[in-house]
Symmetry: C2
Subunit: 495 residues, 2 copies
Amino acid sequence: MKLRVKDMDIATGDIQIVILNQHDANELDLHPMDRLVVKRNGRQTIAILDIAESPKAVPRGQLGMFEETIDALRVKQGDSVTITPAEKPESLKYIKKKLDGKHLQPKELATIVQDTVDNKLTDIELTSFVTASYTRGMNMQEIAALTKAMASTGQTLHFNKYPVIDVHSIGGVPGNRTTMLIVPILVAAGCIVPKTSSRAITSPAGTADTMEVLCPVSLPINKLKKVIQEVGGFIIWGGSVNLAPADDRIIRIEHPLSIDAEGQMLASIMAKKASVGTTHLLMEIPIGPGTKVKDKKQAKHLSKHFSELGNLLGIKVKTTITDGSQPIGNGIGPILEARDVIWSLKCNECAPQDLVKKSIWMAGVLLEYSGKARKGQGQATAKRLLTTGAAYGAMTRIVEAQGGKIPSSLQPAKYTYTLKANKTGKVKNIPNELIAKTARLAGAPIDPDAGILLHKHCLDNVKQGEPILTIYARGKHKLEYAVKALHNLGGVPIT
Amino acid sequence: MKLRVKDMDIATGDIQIVILNQHDANELDLHPMDRLVVKRNGRQTIAILDIAESPKAVPRGQLGMFEETIDALRVKQGDSVTITPAEKPESLKYIKKKLDGKHLQPKELATIVQDTVDNKLTDIELTSFVTASYTRGMNMQEIAALTKAMASTGQTLHFNKYPVIDVHSIGGVPGNRTTMLIVPILVAAGCIVPKTSSRAITSPAGTADTMEVLCPVSLPINKLKKVIQEVGGFIIWGGSVNLAPADDRIIRIEHPLSIDAEGQMLASIMAKKASVGTTHLLMEIPIGPGTKVKDKKQAKHLSKHFSELGNLLGIKVKTTITDGSQPIGNGIGPILEARDVIWSLKCNECAPQDLVKKSIWMAGVLLEYSGKARKGQGQATAKRLLTTGAAYGAMTRIVEAQGGKIPSSLQPAKYTYTLKANKTGKVKNIPNELIAKTARLAGAPIDPDAGILLHKHCLDNVKQGEPILTIYARGKHKLEYAVKALHNLGGVPIT
């Protein structure tokens, strides 16, 4: 059928959509969600059909087109196009197979991932895959095939070097910026460390947000290769490179129902490691209230699965279960955390010792694991690289290679509120969720200088009137919101 | 945040959608699929957020609104509105619970159905419910609760009469127009028969399409009550009354992946019966190649579940497993089928005896089941009501009460092709799918006079050159398509 183009002037940033008037759709026996081949002058594309109930949206004889379809066909308002029904993507067979509880072959999973990356699957179809994988489960062969397909459908970085080291934390602990110490220590030891990090989603700062205080974290892929050649490592925002792009669409599906499918989580994390050619990975699994992993049993289970998946992918994975009961370091929020990191690298007396110790320990594990230090010598080597300034030197080179400069001072925002102890005693705990929520309301991470500075940690002695924490915000309102939340959520309990 | 309305001029016919520029969304820490409360002058509505990547679609400071949201708020282009994040609907908790393999309480299912009817759930959320119910399964208590919730969230018809009779076929057999004989026979016997039927989706005619040859099948609900009062029965298109509206959205989700969840199928069918106050139901389950139910085992299983569900709903259900191996009657397509029906009611010599016998038998079962005939007398009663013209009289009253008139003659379309036997022998079979596909390509049901007339049935003797079937179409092209398909699909085999 011939139709005239109506430019709907909407971009979905996602699948291609066209809209028919419902009378035209009835006449052609077409239904919402049907796939159509849209043609114009030998060019063609496949789009998903929506039906317009009113002629106001799309009159009869016209085909409403979203920007993605307009671009794909290079048409404009009023152009004449033809439509014919399209075959359904092959993926649907395999999604149905998973729904019916059967295992999928690597080729079948690769087809689903490719169609996901090509935006060929509707929300209904992709949701069916995600929920079927969740309810039916995936075995390790399926997870490995999914991981490989996710990695190979995106950009990849390969350095032909060995070892290529990575460190990953499952997350949920505010201020846990060990990565920004471990990477320069390892680089100073001669390792290749292409670290992609995330931005905060529900936390006050991700490693990418904190690193961005020092230098740009979005770099083109050829620049990244150069940085590795020159300095041996980087810390960038993973979202700036197109690594395992299928993951973003899958996460978008999991988000509304907080579906936390283990198989997809494993694939999501490991695909990004496979994309950058990781050979040795240290996986940190913090446990505590508010962290992603709830108890030791779940952590051990996950740990086993990471190692098994690593085996199938040719990545050596070591996991470490850590104490995630309270924030790490003193600063919470991009600038306050970056300041902790720089103080630690400079061995300044203000450096938070919990952050320093944990980083030395984890770097030591990786040095031994990757053969850069003899067994039993890892921690001593890591400590030496830190205290001699070698790690600080490596960080300076990394930051400069990424196009930045370590600032001489890092100042938090000017509006402050200090919470003081209402009695003498011991700090019972510093709840992660309280700190995260308060710091976000103060403005972190969008205002990088907003956040919280902890003066006390869990089990510290405190005297009545002594400061426990200070909130920093750019404006009075944000400060008030944060203070209100701090008190409403119960504050910091003292016993 | 205050924003100006941009009228996107699109109707989804479905959930409310608003669109923010991605920079505004980032600043407000909002993500695609988030729910927003949109307010204007004390009026407010809840909409799902989409993000526009280009300022061309939605510039900063503006809120793109689809028609449903524009209507709900009664705003126009350029009006100022405010947005705040909205709570997630309660349903999401219960959908998650089902995803995690737990059983849902009646109140929880009722909440999901209500939110579905109110278009509060996104495709991702509703798909999760549908696929979770499919992969995790539902027990009979859950199916009954779902059925009741689906019925009570739509229009209902209650007549305070007893018995209220219904007959339903699981479908897949072309020409199976028994309903149009059974209903007038039962009405002639003094039963109340409020029959809602479907239109064809993938078949050449649904009962509603065939009935529409004789009279209107879309009637307002108060008119339907009057028709029942006056003549005791009707045959209308179920889509014209808002019975169990949640079902339409669920079917839309099941369609792309051909998910055939038994629980949802049971609920979907029985909710519509509950909506019209059915007390006695005869459920026909035809078995054969191309029918919905594949074998006797599956049919018996389904039969048991229909009875159990009926028990929980207070509807007496009798099931009958029938031979669905070939089309019933001679005509396929609305006018050709209507002609078979009228010939049968008039006891004309052209009446197809397979259709007549099957209808008498099913009507007899229902007469006994509902107490309108003594045990063993049902078939004789039904036959008498047909041969005395009482059933034809009832049909005439039904058709006239619905606003139509039985036409004096029913003529099929003028372009014809007759398939003749290429040898002498026996008709091996008349494949349902071949007949359905060919009749649809000839134009049925959109062209009501298009379709197929069968001159022979399965196992009939045939001489070389004798006609087997005739295709009717309105135009040469449609006829050619149909003939080509008939031959490509293997034609009618003779042994």
